[in-house]
């Protein structure tokens, strides 16, 4: 049943957010610390474990895969509700702080990633999305 996959995703999501809130409270950060990341790790572990047990038929997987594929549309909706007006009105301080930090970070990212050996670990080139890559 498809809902089993979605329910598994929901449980991992809730548990992860809860643990993130708990962690934030414990260290006094007043915010969620890595809740989504914890949820992702839980889901990865759940998948590995259930695969081993043979409890992960294709139907169940589709209940998760659908939401993974909905990711880009959700991001578009997210972009459509940003406070773009305020961002643009922030003036030169906000603009310079943002551009400066993006440029500095981009150079450091490029520097770190140049040092990486690519052979074997690079993903194969992405062509027109096929059903296999969309999943």
């Amino acid at each position: 049943m498809i809902i089993y996959g979605t329910a598994l995703l929901a449980i991992c999501h809730l548990l992860g957010i809860f643990l993130g809130d708990l962690l934030g409270t414990l260290i006094g950060a007043k915010t969620n610390v890595g809740g989504v990341g914890i949820a992702m790790i839980l889901l990865i572990c759940a998948r590995l474990w259930m695969h081993k047990k043979g409890w992960m038929p294709e139907q169940t997987e589709m209940g998760v895969a659908f939401w993974g594929a909905m990711y880009i549309p959700v991001v578009v909706a997210m972009a459509a509700q940003q406070n773009v007006l305020t961002a643009l009105r922030g003036g030169p301080v906000a603009l310079l702080a943002a551009v400066g930090s993006v440029v500095v970070c981009a150079c450091v990212i490029a520097l770190i990633n140049r040092g990486e050996k690519v052979e074997g670990t690079a993903l194969p080139p992405l062509e027109v999305p096929t059903p296999a890559t969309v999943r």
Binding site: L9, A10, C12, K30, T31, N32, V33, G34, G35, V36, G37, M40, L43, I44, R47, W67, G68, Y71, I72, P73, V74, V75, V76, A77, M78, A79, A80, Q81, Q82, N83, V84, L85, T86, A87, L88, G90, G91, P92, V93, A94, A97, A98, V99, G100, S101, V102, V104, C105, A106, V108, I109, I112, N113, R114, E116, V118, T121, L123, L126, T133
Partner: protein, 254 residues
């Protein structure tokens, strides 16, 4: 007749949002294929259209939530809100290759720390250059350059004024938008080809929205790796901003 149709859309907000975003995606894919010959990814165009709609919504309503403030499109707020966004991000973890994620663990942590300190230093430096001399304002604007959540959380904790808070939010927002829009174009320069490089990117670029949207428009398969690291970024910033970074700033500017 038209009023009836409007009522239908209004009462089915989330469903209207699905239809609207579907339409935006369709237009973007067509534009990508025919106008740019596939060089600019359709997702990137869709995100830019989304930001444009947000601008239009802001102008129309004077609100803070872009298109979601237009009552007809309120469902966009639910579809792109934190709940469904996080739900969809978690779902992308299903494709993570465990071996790859493990290999990049330490690099991810280093990237996270760099991604907090470097933007803070740049932001604080810009604030200082524009005449801010008190530690509270400098810290808040610096924290805003980390992400638009770290800025206000830090500012609220150390008692910044509301105009400085608005500035820090603006800095974070512009950063997120820049990362969203520029990542696909800069993917080659950044070396975004492997899961490890995506994790470095996630830690350094920070903002979950910027990272995930930027990676989505570059190569969808890299999203979970970047998001996995970036999700710790805001928490780390909220932790360090009002504490270590504030004390360090106060020690320097007095």
């Amino acid at each position: 007749m038209l009023e009836l149709l409007e009522g239908t859309a209004r009462h089915n907000g989330l469903v209207t949002a699905f239809a609207l975003v579907g339409l935006v995606m369709l237009i973007s894919m067509k534009l990508s294929r025919h106008l740019t010959m596939g060089r600019v990814h359709g997702s990137a165009i869709a995100i830019v259209i989304g930001l444009g709609l947000a601008y239009w919504g802001g102008v129309q309503t004077g609100g803070t939530k872009g298109l979601a403030d237009v009552s007809l499109f309120a469902g966009v707020g639910l579809m792109g809100g934190a709940m469904l966004r996080d739900f969809a991000i978690v779902a992308t973890a299903f494709e993570v290759q465990v071996v790859e994620a493990k290999k990049a663990g330490m690099v991810g942590v280093a990237a996270l720390l760099l991604g907090t300190f470097l933007p803070f230093i740049v932001g604080a430096g810009v604030a200082y250059a524009f005449g801010y001399r008190d530690a509270v304002s400098i810290t808040t604007i610096g924290a805003g350059a980390v992400t638009y959540i770290v800025g206000p959380v830090t500012g609220a904790a150390i008692g910044a004024t509301s105009d400085v808070m608005a500035l820090s939010i603006a800095a974070g927002l512009i950063k997120a938008i820049l990362v969203m829009v520029a990542t696909p174009a800069a993917a080659k320069f950044l070396g975004l080809r492997t899961p490890r490089s995506a994790m470095v990117f996630g830690g350094l670029a920070g903002t979950v929205s910027g990272v995930s949207a930027g990676l989505a428009a570059t190569d969808r398969r890299l999203v979970p790796y970047g998001a996995l690291v970036a999700t710790f970024h805001t928490g780390l910033g909220c932790l360090l901003g009002p504490s270590l970074l504030f004390f360090a700033t106060r020690a320097i500017v007095g």
